[in-house]
Symmetry: C2
């Protein structure tokens, strides 16, 4: 499962992972997929990306990065982006919280949805 996510740029849903793995493991259950994805997330080996509409997506990209979420097709793209140094530190001080992660999500229409001139988002 880890290997699968490590080799795709997609950000598949649990159902999609299940589907794909079933080609090799016909008896694999969806519950098991969820269980193992959760373990990988807790180990920090993969990342769960929750989206406003639609199910959680899983991301095997190990390098720190952010996301673009398409409101047309629901697709997710990785975004490389250098944030100002000490951003989290600043928040930590100002709000007295133990901030450990920042996540930056951009929303809009992806390239192909823009080209298709899709003005009405699907959802």
């Amino acid at each position: 499962m880890f290997e699968l996510l490590g080799t795709t740029r997609e950000h598949p849903t649990a159902a999609r992972v299940h589907e794909t793995l079933q080609e090799e493991l016909p008896r694999l259950s969806l519950g098991t997929v969820y269980r193992n994805l959760e373990i990988l997330v807790s180990e920090g080996k993969i990342e769960a990306v929750s989206t406003p509409h639609g199910p959680t997506r899983y991301d095997g990209n190990p390098s720190p990065h952010h996301h673009f979420i398409c409101e047309g097709c629901g697709g997710i793209e990785d975004i490389e982006l250098r944030l100002p140094a000490g951003l989290t530190e600043r928040v930590r001080r100002k709000y007295r919280v133990t901030a450990t992660r920042v996540r930056v999500d951009f929303y809009g229409l992806c390239r192909s949805c823009t080209d298709r001139n899709l003005t009405q988002p699907i959802r």
Copy 2:
């Protein structure tokens, strides 16, 4: 409903909004709450904040801001933060997408969860 959200710093769930409003409108149904929240969101008057665990929270804060999401208690705090100018524009150019919004979420433990020395997140 709009008024309620405008006057609270909380980021209540739909169920919480329902509960609160029921004091005045005993027959108010949850479906109606969802319907109207959705309308307010589409009108841009309030914001929906989807969280990794737990239901969507609603935010009546009209000024542009970001969020801190506590992994201990699930609470949400508003974060005022000036992002580098042209961040969205840069993403738009580099990835050729129609990016319209950025959302920055910080994760960690809020002040009181930190004080309570809560090392094991609830969920």
